[in-house]
């Protein structure tokens, strides 16, 4: 693959991931987490996200009213814990419906293509 095509792929991959990451973060924050444990849990589920992306994202989602946060002592250190707000929970439900719809449509498109290719063969 040429470097130019690789760069195009990287851009598309980032675009594809961006929305998915928000969905994953919101879904994971149905349980309370602070930044580091959230990142670790997501990584354990195969969603690797850089610290420099995750922590500002948490702040942005909080500013948008989708998350709530509080400082609390945990293991002898003050940490900022995040969880989904009621508005965030409602938004997550809507996003999941959208996600399922897109996922199902993409599957239909892909299976339709597969059938056409099989017919042509």
């Amino acid at each position: 693959m040429s470097e130019a095509i690789q760069a195009v792929f990287e851009n598309l991959r980032l675009e594809l991931r961006r929305g998915c990451l928000i969905l994953a973060v919101l879904a994971q924050l149905r349980e309370e987490h602070y930044g580091y444990t959230l990142r670790k849990t997501l990584a354990d589920h195969g969603i690797d996200i850089e610290e420099s992306t995750l922590y500002p994202l948490l702040r942005r989602l909080e500013t948008q009213g989708l998350l709530l946060s509080e400082w609390r002592e945990h293991e002898k250190r003050n940490k900022r814990f995040y969880r989904l707000s009621p508005a965030g929970a409602a938004t997550l439900e809507q996003l999941l419906v959208e996600w399922e719809s897109i996922n199902s449509s993409i599957h239909q498109v892909l299976s339709g293509n597969a059938v056409n290719i099989a017919k042509e063969a």
């Binding site: 602070y34 930044g35 580091y36 444990t37 990142r39 670790k40 850089e50 610290e51 420099s52 992306t53 922590y55 500002p56 702040r59 400082w71 250190r77 003050n78 940490k79 900022r80």
Partner: protein
């Protein structure tokens, strides 16, 4: 270096670039996360982290400026929604600004005060900086206007930011105008403008025509009046040509591209024919201080006349060829596809 010192340095560096009102809060959160990460890694390894491992944790977190930048609200002078309109406006209006400025300057030069007239005080540096000034001012005002639109777009009515439009009101598709137009309309307009500027500038700076190594004084010719008349004629011709090139930037006008080109071509032939009215092109010339012999002057005059005659014949032949091609397309109603 101790882990605390390393982290303190890093957090101090990040803090410098964070928004002032969130510095303490953000740094405390980053500190807690980074320390947790280091402790976690220590637990996994069952030993304290080496300095290199600590450095790796901090390096992986990102450069302080980039990390801090992620916490800044996203700023853009003109956002992606408005930008296409901004760019479209610039592309459409900028050639007009350049063209109008050049025409205005040409008119001021021709009809201005005697001090400003041909060959006396045309300052090419002034012309160039004036043009750049006009373009810069135009870009600045357009940018400010669109930046304000971007800034206030949240306060504007939905109809303003999302204008209603009806596909039936879009201009009619006109493949003839599209395919008959100039191949590079913007390049044509800019080339015409630059050529006109050059024509206006060279009487004051003959180096523009004769090159840096030939002094005007070296080639001191007593030029007959026809050259002065020719100069004004060619200035007028180029002003007309520039106006036509600017007009052709508009798609509806491109429908008349061949008619416009025909007129320009005929005017160009007329300009060359004008010079053929005489056989005396260089008068009593001296070269390097020595007068030319009458035979040399006669030979140069005849060569120029014959050269101009050849140019005229070529121009007429090209005109006839282009006209024949165009008529052939018209009669067969076929528009050649562009490649």
């Amino acid at each position: 270096m101790a882990a605390n010192d390393l982290l303190d340095r890093y957090l101090y560096a990040v803090r410098r670039y964070l928004p002032a009102y969130h510095q303490d809060d953000l740094v405390a959160e980053l500190s807690a996360n980074l320390r947790s990460q280091m402790e976690d890694k220590q637990e996994q390894l069952g030993r304290p982290l080496t300095e290199d491992e600590q450095v790796e944790v901090v390096r992986r977190h990102g450069h302080p400026i980039l990390v801090a930048a992620r916490y800044q609200p996203q700023h853009s002078l003109i956002g992606p929604e408005i930008f296409p309109f901004y760019w479209f406006t610039i592309k459409r209006v900028l050639p007009w600004v350049v063209g109008i400025w050049i025409l205005a300057t040409a008119v001021a030069t021709i009809f201005g005060s005697p001090e400003m007239q041909l060959g006396r005080h045309i300052d090419v540096g002034h012309l160039i900086t004036g043009l750049f000034g006009a373009v810069f001012q135009f870009l600045a005002w357009i940018t400010i206007g669109f930046a304000l639109l971007e800034y206030f777009k949240g306060h504007l009515s939905h109809e303003f930011t999302h204008p209603c439009w009806d596909p039936r009101k879009l201009p009619k598709a006109d493949p003839i105008a599209e395919q008959n137009g100039p191949h590079h309309p913007y390049a044509d307009a800019i080339a015409s403008a630059v050529f006109l500027a050059w024509l206006l500038a060279f009487p004051r700076f003959p180096v523009l025509m004769f090159g840096p190594y030939v002094s005007w004084h070296l080639l001191n010719m007593d030029l007959p009046a026809i050259w002065r008349q020719f100069y004004w004629l060619i200035i007028a011709f180029n002003c007309i040509q520039l106006a036509a090139r600017i007009a052709l930037l508009s798609r509806p006008v491109r429908r008349y591209y061949h008619a416009i080109e025909t007129v320009i071509h005929l005017l160009g032939i007329g300009v060359i024919a004008f010079l053929l009215r005489t056989h005396d092109y260089i008068g009593q010339a001296t070269f390097g201080g020595s007068p030319m012999s009458p035979q040399t002057v006669a030979t140069v005059n005849t060569s120029i006349h014959n050269g101009l005659l050849l140019v005229l014949i070529i121009a007429i032949a090209k005109f006839l060829w282009d006209t024949a091609q165009w008529l052939r397309f018209r009669t067969t109603s076929q528009v050649p596809a562009r490649t």
